[in-house]
């Protein structure tokens, strides 16, 4: 199945080289997707634990702690590194 990837928020520029689609086996879970995504990150880069994670508009938690979401073909995986700003 194919997943649409949307990585944004703080330091979004570092995710520019990451493809906006992720191909995963049928029955894949959110954990599988995050592991596949981690493998695509350059060098020692890791997603911050506090990143919000959502699947097709459903809030699943954070990179560190999230629901065991089962994914479907065409889902959009949103990873948001928290932003503050003033």
């Amino acid at each position: 199945m194919q997943l649409r990837l949307f990585i944004s928020g703080r330091n979004y520029n570092l995710a520019e080289g990451i493809p906006d689609r992720l191909t995963l086996p049928e029955g894949a879970t959110l954990d599988d997707a995050l592991k596949a995504l981690a493998a695509l990150l350059p060098g020692e880069t890791r997603l911050p634990a506090s990143c919000l994670v959502a699947v097709s508009g459903r809030h699943c938690g954070t990179v560190a702690s999230h629901l065991p979401e089962k994914l479907r073909d065409g889902d959009e995986l949103v990873i948001l590194a928290p932003v503050a700003g003033g």
Partner: protein, 268 residues
């Protein structure tokens, strides 16, 4: 604060926002009776405060410390070159007062501490968090939850921004969304256009909530990535064990969560 019906001068001022698809006259009166507390009125809070003042919110209380610097002027619409080197709070308050004499403006010239945040949230009908640090955002969130008033969190980085609207004990609060403290960043990049966009949307949500108009986006997060021209909306999940708004909240001492886990993280 004026009571009763709108005056002829107020009707003339607000005529374009009273009618079908916008506010009712009663909604405009509700706005006039409302108080909004905004902490920081810089890049996002400034445009938010401006829009609220122009829309006729009766009382705006804001907090903003320091003196105006040149680097502020790529986004802080309440300041001007004339005010460089002068305290921000006084000139920002004057700027708002000059926009609408029907509005009362109160300025706090420093970051509110825990007690001040609760006191000011308690006087307000709605809180807007547009602060530069998560420490202050969580402080405002705790104050809003403690006082039972809605909080709108506006945030930005570079050309991207987020907006979260919360209703205490009904929707997710900011701590439900970010259970771990995100890392602190002293100097972050920002383009004023995204600040103004997010700040204006925060004001629009506030106007809707306070006047009883339209459908507020309570319980959701709007992500606008201006860099890539992509938006997303997330329906937020409330955490029943949240240390701020859950069934057994911690005291208002600012110690709700641990810091960001792990070591060096390039996307921090």
């Amino acid at each position: 604060m004026a009571r009763g019906a709108l005056s002829a001068e107020e009707r003339a001022r607000y005529q374009r926002q009273i009618g079908p698809g916008v506010l009712t006259e009663e909604g405009q009166l509700r706005l006039r009776r409302s108080t909004v507390f905004i902490s920081r009125v810089g890049g996002m809070g400034g445009p938010a405060a401006l829009a609220l003042a122009m829309a006729g919110v009766g009382r705006i209380i804001f907090a903003h410390g320091g003196t105006l610097e040149s680097a502020d002027l790529n986004r802080q619409v309440l300041g001007s070159e004339h005010g460089l080197g002068k305290p921000r709070a006084a000139q920002f308050a004057d700027c708002l007062r000059e926009r609408n004499h029907f509005v009362t403006v109160e300025a706090l010239d420093h970051e509110p501490d825990d007690a001040e945040a609760v006191e000011l949230a308690g006087r307000a009908d709605l809180v807007i968090s547009a602060a530069p640090t998560f420490a202050e955002r969580f402080r405002l969130n705790r104050a809003a939850v403690a006082c039972g008033v809605p909080l709108i969190d506006a945030a930005q980085w570079g050309m991207t921004g987020t907006l979260i609207a919360t209703k205490p004990h009904v929707t997710a609060c900011l701590r439900c969304v970010y259970p771990q403290d995100p890392p602190f960043e002293e100097m972050f990049p920002v383009v004023g256009a995204i600040s103004a966009a997010i700040g204006s949307l925060a004001a629009l949500e506030a106007i809707k909530i306070l006047s009883g108009t339209g459908r507020p986006m309570f319980g959701s997060l709007l992500l606008i990535d201006g860099y890539r021209g992509h938006e997303s909306r997330v329906q937020l999940r409330r955490n029943p064990t949240c240390p701020c708004c859950g069934d057994s909240p911690l005291p208002l001492d600012g110690r709700e969560a641990g810091g960001e886990g792990g070591g060096t993280q390039d996307m921090n």
